[in-house]
Structure formats: C-alpha cells, structure tokens
Amino acid sequence: MHRYVARRSALALGQCFFALVVVFALDSLVPGDTADVLQGDHGNPQQAAALRDRLGLDEPAWQRFWHWLGSLLAGDPGRSLVTGLPVGDEIGRRLAVSVVLALPALALVALLAPALGVVAGLREGTRLDRALSAAAVLLHSVPEFVLAMLLIASLSVAAGLLPATAAGLDGAGLLAQPSVLVLPVLVLTARQLCDLARQIRVGVAEQRGSAPAEHLRLLGLPERRVVLRHVLPNALAPASQQFARCVEGLLGGALVVESLFSVQGVGTGFIQAVQNRDTPQVQTYALLFAGTVVVVNLAGDLVSHRLAPSKEASA
C-alpha cells in the first residue's frame, strides 16, 4: 500500500508537469499575447512595443516557461501579466471563493445522492422511482442557465427572498452573507447530484437482489440493515469514482454558475486568464486543476481499493 501510494505520488508529479507543458504549448499556439489584449482596439505599435518590453513578452516562449517553472519551484508562481499582482494572491482569493461554494455543494451531493439513489433503487420500477428518476434526468438536462435564470427570476427578483448575485464578494464576504450562496449552490448541486444519484440507483437496484442480500434476508436481517450494511457499501464502491468526478466538476467546471451569479471563483478566473493570455496565471491554474484531478483520483482509487477487494490476490 505504501509503495503504491509513493509510486502514484511520483507519477502525479509527472502528470502535473506534463499537463503544464501541454497547456503551455496550447497557450502558445493561440495567436496574440497579453500586450494585444491590454491594448484592445486602441494603442499603437510604440505602446505595444513598450508593453512587450515591460512584460518580458519579447523573450522566446520556452525561455519564459523555464523562468516561470524555476520561480515556481522556488515557491513563487510569478506575477500576472495583466494586473501585475502576484498570481498566488489572485488565485488564492478565487480558490477561497470556489471552496466556499463547492464545500456546501459537495456536502449536499454527498448526503442527498446516496439517499435519493437508495430510495429510487430500492423501489425500482415503482411510480416513486420513475418520478424521482424523471426529476433527476430533467434537472440534469435543463440547461444550467435556464435553471439559474428561473430561480433568480422567481426567488430573487420577484419574491426578493434571496440575493441574485454574489457580485463583488470574496470568500470571507460570502461566509458573512451565506444567503448569497443558496442559489449558486442549488444550481451547482443539481447536476452533480443527479449524476451521482442515478449511478447509485443502478448499483442499489442491482445489489438489492444479489445473493448475499437474499441470504441476509433469509437469516431475518431487517431490510434497513440489509440495505445499510450490504447493498449500500457494494453499490457505493463504484460510485466513489463518480464522487471523485464530482469534486473536479465542482471546483473547476462550475463555470456557468460562477458567471451567472458573478461569483469570483477559479472557473471564471481561469477563463479570464486564458482569454487575457495571462501565461503565469494560466499555468498556475493548470497546475491547480491538474493537481486537484490527480489528488482526487488518487483518493478515489485508494477508497475504492479499500472498499472493493483487490484485483488479483497473487502477484
């Protein structure tokens, strides 16, 4: 086990590095640079030259990459080309916001998905199951912006119950005003929840009739215990991987939600960095995402390793 973890961790470093290289290569394939972005439709060649000189954009691309990598290893991911501020601060601020948003969503998913999945799976084929399944798929297939806009229009604009956006709030601001979180978290949760709940539902439906479950029933174990102790663990083993997907989805993929609610999170931050051709930021975000993916997957693998028997007993 320890050897496995060590090997995977070494691999993880390699993966992150590879991701950085690819992202950098992609980034340099895209025409234009930060100077172009900053100039927009005004500005002139002299200004552009001065700007490139100041930002160090006239250095060859690979040299910039190595410089950045060097300073990263020294613990400093550099300064944003656009704002000139330390990248670490900017991303840290946005990460705090994303985490404040993602944690409640994650908690909701972790609680509700098994509950819904189990309820529907145990009553597979009944009207309740069909209703829950239809609702889940419906929520999953509504375009996110439609869902968000309808919620905002009804709950914030018309009823005035909840704030419509999180405009201008940082992580601490969000915590101080939790009502702001309600709608974004709801929209964010809806999709992931449906995904996970449906996977658990099939798992439960398959497991509830399995031979071990039937055996426990024959021995007179109450259904609740059969479900909790046998059906659920067996159904959750594959779902743990899906849950890992969820974490990634919540951290990075919450783009639509972040922009619709004007949440200053890493999703929109990354998009902005890419659009602004802000290489140090893009690279740092890439590292953040790659790191998250790798760690979450490793965790998912270890969990399912614990939950499910190993693949081969003999070497």
């Binding site: 234009g32 640079d33 002139n44 704002t83 956006t165 619709l260 004007s262 659009q275």
Partner: protein, 481 residues
C-alpha cells in the same frame, strides 16, 4: 439582503463589466468602461465632451491658440486635490507628459504625443502653454480624451490614489469593489451621495439580475434582449444614448480581392443597412451612411443615404470577375450584435454572388488579429470627435488604419483642415475629406447602435449619455432618494 444600500443611506452601487481590466486605479491606463468610471469619480480632466463631442471646460477655465495653431494657452480654474493641495499647471504638464509616454499605455497617447514638452511651460500656478509639433486647431479635443486625467505632480503609485475628482478613495481590491466617498472640497460642489461603490460584474445577465433585484442601482453596458426585459420592469429605467457606437464592416483595400475598387463598391451597394439595423441591432440604432460620427460636430449630414442596389452590385461583381468569390468575414463576440450581423451580411452578399463565411476569433485579441489577418472584418468604434477619428483611422500609414486606405487627396485635405483656424472652413474641409473616405476607404459604416445603461427607477440625476461624454457615469449628479 437585496435592496440594501439603496439611495437612502446615500450609498450608490454601480455595476460594470471588468473582464480584461488591469485592475489598477491609474487613470492613464483606463481602457475599459469600468476603468473610466473609476477614473471619472476620482479624477478630473481639463475638459469633457458634450454630447456632440464638442469640447467644454472642466479643470480648464479657458484655452486659446495663437494664429499658427501651435501654441495653446490654458488657464486652470481654482481646484484642489483630495489632500488639499491645489491643482497647478505643473500637475497638468506632469500628467500630460506621463500620458504621452508610450510606456504608460494611455488611450490618448497619440493625441498628446503632438505636444512638444521640451517647449511647453507653466506660466503661472494656474496658467500654462502647450507647444505642438505641428499646427492643429482641433487640438482641444485632447483635453477631454480618456486617459488624460490630471494627477498630482510626481505621482507614480496608485495604491491610494489622490485626485481632484468628486469622490475620494476609500478602498479597492483588484477584482473587487471599488469604494469611494464623497469629497466635500470638489470645485463643482460636493456630490450628493455619500458613498459610491463600483462593482465588477462581468456577465450581462448577472448585471441585469443584480439591478432588478436591487443589489445595485446602476448597471452599465446592457445590450440586446436584456433591454426588452428591463423596459418591462417597473423598478428599473433604461438610459439609452442613441447611435453611440459606429458599426463598421472593414474591407482591406490594400489586399486582394478588395484592391479592386469595383468589388468594394459592389459590397457597399450589396449590403442592406436597414435590414442589418432592424435585425442585428433589433431596431435599436440608426442606419449608417458609411461615415463615422452621425450627428456629431463635423459630420456631413447633407450626404444622401446610400441604398442597397442588388442589380448594380451584381453587375459590379461580374465586372470585377469575382462571381462566386468566397472570402471570410472576421467576427467575434466583442459586440453582441456581430453574431447576427455577420450572418446577415453573409446572406445579403450571397444575393450579389459572393460567398461569405463568418469566422469567429477570440474577443480579447480580436483587434490585434484583424490588424494582421483577413480581408474583411467587423469593427465598432464608440463615440469620438470626428476629426480625431479621421486622423487616427483613415490617414494613410497610421497604426489604426485597418482598411489600408491610402489616399493622398484625403491626407492633404486633413492637413489643410487642421491648420485652418476658421471653424466653418475647417469643417468644410473635413466634409470634403469624408466624401472621399465614404467611397474609397473600404470602411462600410452600416449603422449606429444605441448604448444602454440600466438604473433603478428611484435614482434621479442621471441622464443618458454616450460613453466618453461628460454625462456618462456622472455619479456625482446622482440624488439620494
């Protein structure tokens, strides 16, 4: 809670797009609306633009030139910075020199680079003379240009900016809310609201929702279908400034196939401007006549409207030997209307026998890309003084001449106009130059789209105005309700 912080407490919140902003309070680096709104609150300029882009004084009480149009004498009004120091001629010289430095990156760098700072002098605490390298009787437009704000002499850091504008700096986090408070010592009288917060909200729908739910009292830069929604909401008013943005189709006259004037003319005749305004702008705009600045000072309003003539256009295409020619039309999401405009233009030109494929490019680097690439591109320009526009976009060889228009006659007329003291005569020359540009420059101005901002119905004191002009984002006029 929603609706909190309305006018009653004297706090006013305004939402703007902030994507791509450098997130600095340096007024000389102010490319975006949000930067300009922040600069307008903290700083003053020597002058501002009226609605027709004529210039009116602000910090400058008066200005006049000598007979050559080279030496401009300026008198400042009595005003002071937030730290109590008076605004002096030295501050003006320092600010202008800074903005004229290409390293600073001011949008008005080109305008101010006309000044010979070696010869320009402060002739008193509130008087100065700017000496130009070349005569220019239209020079005062530079006093009102964006990025020409007056900062105290020697300022290099804008962490805690000091200006002479109606609001004082209170706090600002990059990417977050800029909080300013009323400055009682402003020369034009203190603003009526006590606090101004400028909130960055990038997504348009979020700005609209924030406004509708009362989280902000002002939402800048709203386009397209959201206007309909706001117009139907009781709690909200829409400030519309007509024809604020010139919508253009740029044809590279220097490159094949548009090096053939026949083809350029065919396109001018083949585009249905009215349909474009009706559909792409949803009727919220006016039809263009292939010239910039409809309704502004110096615009030749007497020219007849150019109409679509499919037959003639088709003939011209045939004559140019370009039947069935295909080319790509560069477009982007820079402007909300381009998506439809490009589709529609492609279809309209299909009628005259041309095959046009829109090609979308990234919005942030769009302008630098179309400088290098492509033969046809969409473009917008927000309101500027007409002479500045002609000078900067259509003279041969200038950096922002995107069509490659190169006409000795045009350049000569422009030079003569600039050195003509008599205003009427000067404008006459500009008219003549514009006639040439209209037919030959390859710049097809098909319409002028309206600009919209939303405000809460309860807000008083704000009026609609084109961006760059005096009344746009003039939050010191807002009355607390």
């Amino acid at each position: 809670p929603p609706g909190d912080g309305g006018g009653r407490s004297g706090r006013f919140r305004a939402a703007f797009t902030a994507g791509g902003s450098q997130e600095t309070l340096d007024p000389h680096v102010a490319p975006n609306f949000v930067d300009q709104a922040r600069a307008k609150a903290l700083f003053d300029t020597l002058a501002t633009y009226n609605d027709d882009m004529s210039v009116r004084g602000r910090l400058a009480e008066s200005w006049e030139s000598d007979a050559s149009g080279r030496r401009w004498h300026i008198r400042l009004r009595k005003a002071s910075f937030h730290d109590g120091e008076p605004v002096t001629a030295k501050d003006v010289l320092y600010s202008y020199r800074r903005a004229a430095d290409p390293k600073t990156g001011s949008p008005s760098q080109q305008l101010l680079s006309a000044v010979d700072f070696g010869k320009s002098r402060a002739s008193g605490a509130r008087e100065l003379t700017l000496v130009l390298k070349d005569p220019d009787f239209e020079f005062p437009t530079a006093f009102a240009g964006p990025g020409t704000e007056i900062v105290p002499e020697g300022t290099t850091s804008f962490r805690h900016p000091v200006g002479s504008g109606p609001f004082r700096y209170a706090s600002f986090k990059p990417g977050g809310i800029a909080h300013f408070v009323r400055w009682k010592g402003h020369w034009a009288g203190a603003p009526r609201i006590s606090d101004l917060e400028i909130v960055p909200v990038n997504e348009e729908s979020a700005r609209v929702n924030a406004l509708l739910s009362g989280q902000v009292q002002y939402a800048g830069d709203i386009s397209g279908s959201f206007i309909d929604r706001l117009e139907h909401a009781d709690a909200v008013r829409v400030l519309t400034s007509r024809g604020a943005t010139a919508q253009q189709l740029l044809l590279r006259t220097g490159r094949a196939p548009f090096d053939d004037p026949k083809l350029v003319e065919a396109l001018l005749l083949g585009v249905d401007r009215e349909a474009l305004v009706r559909v792409a702008l949803a009727g919220r705009g006016t039809v263009g006549n292939d010239l910039f600045g409809k309704g502004l000072r110096g615009y030749p309003a007497e020219l007849p409207q150019r109409e679509r003539d499919v037959e003639r256009a088709r003939d011209l295409v045939r004559e140019a030997g370009a039947k069935g020619l295909s080319f790509t039309l560069e477009t982007s999401t820079v402007d909300a209307s381009w998506e439809s405009a490009s589709t529609l233009i492609a279809r309209q030109l299909g009628d005259v026998g041309l095959h046009v494929t829109p090609r979308k490019r990234a919005s942030t680097t769009y302008f630098s890309e179309i400088k290098e690439k492509g033969v046809a591109a969409l473009n917008t320009t927000s309101t500027l003084p007409v002479s500045d526009f002609l000078q900067q976009r259509l003279r041969s060889g200038v950096a922002r001449n995107l069509t490659g228009f190169d006409s000795g006659r045009f350049d000569e007329l422009m030079d003569r106009a600039r050195s003509t003291r008599e205003e009427k005569e000067r404008l006459g020359l500009l008219h003549r130059a514009q006639r040439i540009a209209r037919d030959e420059s390859g710049m097809l101005v098909w319409g002028f789209s309206d600009a919209h901002d939303g405000v809460s119905a309860s807000v008083k004191g704000l009026r609609s105005a084109v961006p760059n002009s005096h009344f746009w984002a003039r939050f010191d006029d807002v009355e607390p309700s």
